[in-house]
């Protein structure tokens, strides 16, 4: 039963990644692209955790934690570059 639910969730998040990719390529504005990138990071974290459930190991938490931190820092850096023209003033 968990296997079927996992397959469903994998499909949902993979479709979500495709939607995000579409928004990154089409997005009329830089803010849209940053937003799509941020959503992509969150979806990748969800996929990692679902894969951890499927494999039954807790190895993937460190990976998802790292992805979350790097994603947050990169989003803030990109926004800051647009806002101020510089990342570290």
């Amino acid at each position: 039963m968990i296997e079927i639910a996992l397959l469903f969730a994998f499909g949902c998040y993979s479709l979500g990644l495709l939607f995000n990719l579409w928004r990154i390529t089409r997005g009329p504005d830089a803010a849209d692209r940053i937003l799509a990138l941020d959503t992509m990071v969150i979806n990748v974290i969800a996929l990692l955790i679902l894969y951890g459930i499927r494999e039954g190991t807790s190895v993937y938490y460190e990976a998802s934690m790292l992805v979350a931190m790097v994603g947050f820092v990169s989003t803030v850096a990109y926004c800051r570059f647009i806002l101020r023209g510089d990342i570290i003033e």
Partner: protein, 125 residues
């Protein structure tokens, strides 16, 4: 015959997948950038929260050991989602909305995108 633990974990996983899909679908469905900001920041964060709850219950009820990593990730994501949303909105305002088009703030200071923060003059002077 699935036990109640499997049903619980499966429900949370399916809920998380649905919320993640709704959030990412809002990203392509909604018309405006400011509208699009709502989908990922709220629905996707809720979805990943549900997935993390599913992971916690799975490892506690089926594998039999408690793990607190999920709580860390949940805390981190729920703390950073509003911050990134605020930053993206500010980036959009800087590029697209002029200062005179913004509504007046009800305080002595203007919008943070265009005005210096309060107390900056005293720090420098």
């Amino acid at each position: 015959m699935p036990g109640y633990a499997e049903i619980l974990v499966s429900t949370f996983i399916v809920l998380g997948g649905l919320f993640g899909l709704v959030g990412s679908f809002g990203l392509i469905k909604l018309r405006d950038t400011m509208q699009r900001l709502h989908g990922p920041t709220k629905a996707t964060t809720l979805g990943i929260g549900s997935v993390l709850i599913a992971s916690m219950t799975y490892f506690y009820l089926i594998k039999g050991h408690v793990s607190f990593h999920e709580l860390l990730i949940t805390l981190f994501l729920f703390l950073t989602a509003p911050i990134t949303a605020n930053f993206i909105a500010k980036a959009y305002i800087t590029r697209h909305i002029r200062e005179q088009d913004l509504p007046a703030t009800s305080s002595d200071y203007g919008w943070s995108v265009y005005d210096d923060p309060p107390g900056k003059e005293t720090e420098e002077g």
